[in-house]
């Protein structure tokens, strides 16, 4: 009994002692997680100054980041935050900086250029943002200048929109069992191609809305065993598809089956789903200056221009890549993490896997857009 009491007193005393030591002399990483200071270092070099800025952005310490800028008199803190996050709701609105990379480009005794690559953690995955910062020496320390992106100013105007909108009235709950209901849109898979990749089987294809009404669509695929035609796995296209198809619109889709080998697969059962939904034909997005860039770093780049007067909060660009014979080679996508303002081009860059890039001859790009309070593809 006495020994137990002695042990309790000993443990209690040790705990109090450790808390006191941790409070008075905290470790560096603990101080960061407690939200004070971060991994800030002396800004004795241009890279260190930019690294400090990156650390402050990672901590969402906007005021400290703004205060440390050499050119802060040229803009307000609010404009600095808008430049980072955007003026209108978009993917970055609810994102945080996950990590950053710093790369020196040029340096002299008084100024330098450093590339800062910020990786935003958004709900649909990482969204990198690369900025080249000029860093100037003030006394003994270096201070970065923030390169504000010029936002084109649109003159106030009224843009009349008279595109179609479809509304649906479904059968009532009290209707007889034989009562007529609206027909689901007719969709058709016009192309399908399975390939084996390092991480498993990938099924890609294209889906056409062959009806005269809008369709909310998705595609499921079931792999059937070569031995006995039993199901191996069933997966869906998830977000690798444009979920809203207007009449005669085509979307690519891609379905991943991790850890499955194509040699095990005897056949594939494809199941497209469609339902009739209310939709609008607006906004129209033009894809300009598309370029198919060869390896290394193969990609398709271009610009999205919102031709309507409506602000598009999130744009999802899906690229379909074909070989010289017109066969489907790959489907890739990218979310644009900036809102699409009317008539304002926004760049996109869809990466193509290096091993497939040499096969790609042509491509087709579609854009799905999401507007606050609604969506359309």
């Amino acid at each position: 009994m006495n020994r137990g009491r002695f042990l309790a007193v000993l443990l209690g005393g040790a705990t109090v002692l450790l808390i006191a030591i941790g409070t008075l002399w905290p470790s560096k990483s603990a101080a960061i997680y407690a939200g004070s200071g971060g991994f800030l270092e002396s800004a004795a070099t241009p890279e260190a100054a930019v690294r400090n800025l990156g650390e402050e952005l990672r901590e969402s310490a906007w005021q400290r980041a703004y205060d440390g800028l050499a050119n802060k008199t040229q803009f307000t803190e609010q404009k600095f935050v808008y430049d980072l996050m955007g003026y209108y709701p978009n993917l970055r609105t609810y994102a945080t900086v996950d990590k950053y990379e710093v790369r020196p480009l040029r340096a002299s005794a008084t100024d330098a250029e450093v590339e800062l690559k910020i990786y935003w953690a958004t709900v649909v995955g990482p969204a990198p943002d690369t900025r080249v910062l000029r860093v100037v020496k003030n006394g003994n320390v270096w201070q970065p200048e923030w390169p504000m992106e010029k936002q084109p100013l649109l003159p106030p105007q009224v843009i009349p929109v008279n595109y179609l909108r479809w509304d649906v009235i479904y059968r009532g709950a009290g209707d007889d069992w034989g009562a007529q209901d609206v027909e689901s849109p007719h969709v058709r898979i016009v192309d399908m191609h399975p390939v084996e990749r390092a991480d498993g089987v990938v099924i890609m294809g294209e889906l056409l809305n062959e009806d005269v009404v809008p369709a909310a669509v998705s595609v499921n695929a079931t792999l059937l065993s070569k031995k006995d035609q039993s199901p191996i796995a069933t997966e869906g296209s998830f977000d690798k598809i444009s979920h809203l198809l207007l009449p005669k619109q085509v979307t690519p889709f891609l379905i991943r089956f991790p850890n499955v080998s194509l040699s095990e697969v005897g056949s594939i059962r494809m199941t497209p789903f469609s339902s009739l939904v209310s939709a609008s034909a607006d906004p129209v997005i033009e894809i300009q200056d598309e370029h198919l860039n060869p390896a290394p770093d193969a990609s398709v780049t271009g610009q999205l221009t919102n031709q309507s007067g409506q602000i598009v909060n999130v744009a999802h660009v899906l690229g379909t890549f074909y070989d010289k014979s017109g066969n489907l080679v790959w489907v890739a996508d990218q979310y644009v993490d900036r809102a699409l303002l009317p008539q304002t081009p926004v760049p996109f860059d869809i990466h193509i896997p290096e091993d497939l890039a040499r096969k790609v001859s042509t491509e087709r790009t579609v854009v799905a857009t999401y507007v606050s309070g609604g969506a359309r593809g």
């Binding site: 008279n162 595109y163 179609l164 479809w166 007889d176 069992w177 034989g178 007529q180 209901d181 609206v182 027909e183 016009v190 056409l208 062959e210 009806d211 005269v212 009404v213 809008p214 207007l246 009449p247 005669k248 619109q249 085509v250 034909a281 129209v284 997005i285 033009e286 894809i287 300009q288 200056d289 598309e290 370029h291 198919l292 271009g302 031709q307 491509e363 087709r364 790009t365 579609v366 854009v367």
Partner: protein, 289 residues
């Protein structure tokens, strides 16, 4: 309910040996038309209780043996096989059975027509199935003539007459070459049920566009887009314009508006402009200005 039925059926099986000993009996009809009035003559004397049990209904009547037992209109309305149990002095006295059959006169036809929307000119694309019921929603299983009629606003009619088998009749119809809202009617005698079939244009046919300069851009515009039967393709249908130039491409998906699709694209000398809608390709233009 189920327990009562089981109990009465059990009683009925026990009753047969006692029927003669008790000296009373019922003369049951072989069949009764659903909802009709009928009577059951009885012999013997004294009071008894009559139970009539079917899958949809259970009746209990206090009866005076030796008199006819009357059932007014609408008493038994659910078609099926019924058993009767006569209980006298708290003991099952007699059991029997009869059938309630659907009324001969159709009162309703439930009509399933599919699809409610389809492209024009589709052979056998429309199906209709009719189920014939009497006033009390009993399926009339006796063969009955059902007439299916599909009529378009322009007066084109297709008519088929089909006899029901086990209460159902079905048919196939072709969609007409003209778009519009057709009426699809299933008729049995003076009873009918109507469905609306939307016949919509098919894929665009011979998609053609033209291009003209518009400042520093090119204005591209389709001719009114029609299907191969000459129907105007509905507004909202997506038309894809593609401009291919040296090392680059611009595409835009434009919905049809008032029958045509138009858009402004960057003017690049030597660019090739093409147009498509769904799987249908249109003409190409080379822009030389």
């Amino acid at each position: 309910m189920r327990a009562v039925c089981a109990c009465l059926i059990g009683w009925g099986m026990l009753a047969a040996p006692f029927a003669v000993a008790q000296g009373g009996s019922l003369t049951l009809p072989r069949t009764v038309e659903a909802g009709s009035a009928f009577s059951v003559p009885s012999s013997g004397s004294g009071k008894a209780t009559l139970y009539i049990v079917g899958l949809g209904q259970v009746l209990k009547r206090d009866v005076e043996m030796g008199q006819a037992i009357s059932f007014p209109l609408g008493t038994l309305y659910s078609a099926g096989h019924y058993i009767t149990v006569l209980v006298k002095d708290s003991s099952p006295a007699e059991s029997g059975s009869f059938d309630v059959i659907p009324a001969a006169k159709p009162a309703d036809v439930t009509f399933l027509a599919r699809p409610s929307r389809l492209p024009v000119g589709l052979h056998g694309g429309i199906t209709g199935a009719g189920y014939v019921f009497d006033t009390y929603r009993n399926l009339i299983t006796a063969p009955t003539q059902v007439t299916f009629e599909l009529s378009s606003p322009k007066g084109a009619n297709q008519t088929r007459t089909v006899e029901t088998r086990y209460g159902a009749a079905w048919t196939e119809m072709d969609s007409t070459p003209q778009q519009g809202t057709d009426k699809f009617v299933a008729r049995v005698g003076d009873v009918s049920s109507m469905r609306i079939i939307g016949q919509v244009p098919g894929d665009p046919c011979s998609l053609k566009m033209s291009a003209r300069p518009a400042g520093e851009q090119i204005q591209v515009q389709t001719e009114p887009v029609r299907d191969c039967s000459g129907n105007a393709v509905p507004d909202g249908t997506i038309v894809t314009f593609t401009e291919t130039y040296d090392g680059g491409e611009s595409t835009v998906d434009v919905p049809l508006k008032r029958g045509i699709a138009e858009v402004k694209m960057p003017a690049r000398p030597g660019a090739k402009l093409s147009v498509a809608s769904g799987v249908v390709l249109g003409n190409e233009i080379r822009w030389e200005k």
